[in-house]
């Protein structure tokens, strides 16, 4: 554990960035964007993680202070939910645009799309 898991999140982020920058296929670019999103969701969950922590649910008779001392941080989990929804919206929009582009050009290859200069 420790720092290694953060390095893993960073590695996933780099994989996503690599796909966005280097891939020539629209679908692969979209997958890169999705991987980038997952890397950040992983990072957000890790921020709130505590080794051996319990679920942040206050059971009857338990004091909030005792829960706070043992539970994982629930706030990043709420943030991740928001982030996942945003990611879903963007992926859906990107797929819709990629399909429209496929109708126009008959391919997902970026190299074939040359209507715009640089």
């Amino acid at each position: 554990m420790g720092i290694a898991i953060y390095v893993l999140a960073f590695a996933v982020l780099l994989v996503g960035l690599y796909a966005v920058i280097a891939k020539k296929n629209l679908i692969k670019v979209i997958l890169g964007v999705a991987i980038l999103d997952y890397a950040l969701n992983l990072l957000l969950v890790l921020v709130g993680y505590r080794t051996g922590g319990t679920a942040p649910i206050l059971s009857r008779g338990e004091s909030p202070a005792a829960l706070a001392a043992t539970a994982v941080d629930p706030l990043p989990q709420a943030l991740v939910l928001t982030s996942i929804v945003i990611g879903l919206g963007i992926t859906a929009l990107l797929v819709a645009m990629a399909l429209r582009l496929h109708e126009k050009y008959g391919t997902f290859d970026v190299e074939a799309m040359r209507k715009l200069r640089g």
């Binding site: 950040l40 928001t82 963007i90 645009m97 715009l116």
Partner: protein
């Protein structure tokens, strides 16, 4: 006042959804345009009412200032300046759109997305916590991706796809920065993060990682060189009212404003951040204008100038941050305040004249069917109102007195020179000169001379489009002439909100970290 702040987001959001409903009711579906205009007009009125009051803090859902969670909204001087700018440009654009969008099908989608984008931009400038800022940035961005692709032609889809992918990468970096800052401080509220960061150590590796990720993401949103590649494709591809909104206010609200807010009010405006702003601003200013000179596509030329003009704003803000941080004789003499005033004044002015130019390019394109400058000519006689708008916009951006662009550029150049940066001041003056030359070209080819075949049959644009142009042209002239009262009511409180830095935010939130 307290109830108005959430309404700035809720009203356009509600109008957006109402438009979708109205469009499906037989008989009233033609009213979607009027509905959208009314929503934006209500926002502008509320923004002007808020302008008269003091700084307002709203804790949505009754969480209160002492809790660490909850959504906080802050309406301070800077937010008020941005609200007035956003809703003014949005009103002109949507009035223009009522006539311009007639040739498109399914116009209600356009109005719904437009309202959504306006709501999200109002949310961005009112956000008091970092995650909320990110969410509203994303809502505004998603609406703008869809609006760039609105025409569904191959170029538009291509530009929108590129814009959406790069915008998402930028947002990812913003989220990463937010996550890192939360990990370090355990807070999301900007004021509390700002108060806790010095305890963590402002130049520690964690803070630098978070700040770097945030600034990279926001610089991408602001299209600063070297993150600018998407802008010259995305802005010209959108329908003209959306080009005006994107270049006029979106890159400011979700780029420059967010960058300034984070650097000054959260990270404390250290000198290394100021240097980054100066480098980004200076390079964008020069590269943007050099790329613009060679363009023959009217809208593409305008888009490159947006990069260059935003460079001015960041340069002035960066020099202001540096002077304010130095605590020497310059800071006492108000040079920092002058720099920040110049930057914010230019931000407002650019919003007015760039949206004016994009709207007039839209009406030229609609009436002649082309936006290639070489295919135009002689429009001054054919389209007098549009030509008037185009001329006023060009004179403003080129920095000709008495229009507003002249005053803000002059203030920036003088302030940067007073701050002991004569080289940067000379660079800013040089860029202003090249901008002037570039717009002489526009005037020469589009408006003067003999009409070429494409332009010969052109007629004046409809009244709604003309009136939007005239209103923006009057604002361009008045905001130049009425600089002193505007400074007093609008820019001085906005500059104070930035320069007050971390301490200012804390004193007004009443937060004891």
């Amino acid at each position: 006042m307290e109830t108005l702040v959430p309404l700035m987001v809720a009203v356009p959001l509600g109008v957006g959804f109402a438009i979708v409903a109205i469009a499906h009711i037989r008989g009233v579906s033609r009213l979607v345009g009027a509905c959208c205009v009314a929503g934006v007009l209500a926002c502008l009125v509320m923004a002007l009412v808020l302008l008269g009051g003091g700084t307002v803090h709203v804790y949505v859902g009754g969480w209160g200032p002492q809790r660490t969670l909850g959504i906080g909204m802050v309406c301070d001087g800077l937010a008020k300046l941005m609200l007035v700018t956003i809703n003014l440009v949005a009103l002109a654009s949507v009035v223009f759109a009522t006539a311009y969008m007639r040739r498109f099908t399914r116009v209600w989608l356009f109005y719904a997305l437009f309202s959504l984008m306006t709501a999200a931009m109002n949310g961005v400038v009112l956000a008091g916590d970092l995650f909320n800022l990110f969410v509203f940035l994303e809502v505004a961005a998603i609406a703008s991706y869809a609006l760039v692709a609105f025409g569904c032609e191959a170029e538009e889809l291509e530009a929108a796809f590129k814009y959406a992918v790069l915008g998402t990468v930028g947002s990812a970096f913003v989220l990463m920065g937010v996550a890192v800052l939360y990990a370090l401080t355990g807070q999301l509220n900007m004021a509390k993060v700002a108060a806790l960061l010095p305890k963590v150590g402002l130049s520690g590796p964690g803070v630098l990682l978070g700040a770097g990720a945030l600034m990279a993401g926001l610089a991408l949103k602001a299209a600063m060189v070297p993150f600018h590649a998407w802008l010259p494709d995305a802005h010209p591809s959108a329908p003209a009212p959306i080009s005006a909104m994107l270049s006029g206010v979106l890159i400011k609200a979700s780029g420059v404003y967010a960058l300034a807010r984070v650097v000054f009010n959260v990270l404390g405006g250290g000198s290394h951040y100021a240097t980054i702003l100066i480098v980004l601003g200076g390079v964008s200013m020069l590269v943007g204008v050099l790329l613009a000179v060679g363009q023959w596509d009217f809208k593409r030329l305008l888009a490159y100038h947006s990069i260059s003009q935003m460079g001015y704003v960041l340069l002035a803000l960066g020099v202001g941050a540096q002077v304010a941080g130095s605590e020497g004789v310059l800071a006492r003499n108000g040079v920092a305040a002058l720099c920040v005033f110049g930057g914010l004044y230019h931000l407002f002015n650019h919003a007015t004249f760039k949206s004016l130019l994009f709207l007039s390019s839209g009406s030229i394109e609609q009436q002649t069917g082309t936006r290639q400058l070489k295919e135009l000519g002689g429009l001054a006689r054919r389209m007098p109102v549009t030509s008037f708008g185009c001329r006023v916009g060009a004179l403003s951006i080129a920095g000709v007195p008495p229009f507003n662009g002249f005053f803000s550029k002059l203030i920036i150049i003088v302030a940067v020179a007073l701050a002991g940066r004569p080289v940067l001041a000379a660079l800013a003056a040089l860029v202003a000169l090249v901008t002037l030359l570039s717009f002489v070209k526009v005037q020469r080819y589009a408006l003067e001379g003999e009409p070429v075949a494409m332009a010969a049959g052109a007629r004046e644009a409809p009244v709604a489009m003309g009136s939007a142009l005239v209103v923006l042209a009057i604002v361009c002239l008045l905001s130049g002439v009425a600089m002193v009262p505007l400074w007093h009511y609008l820019f001085e409180p906005a500059g104070a909100a930035l320069l007050g830095g971390v301490g200012k935010v804390l004193s007004v939130t009443g937060v004891s970290p």
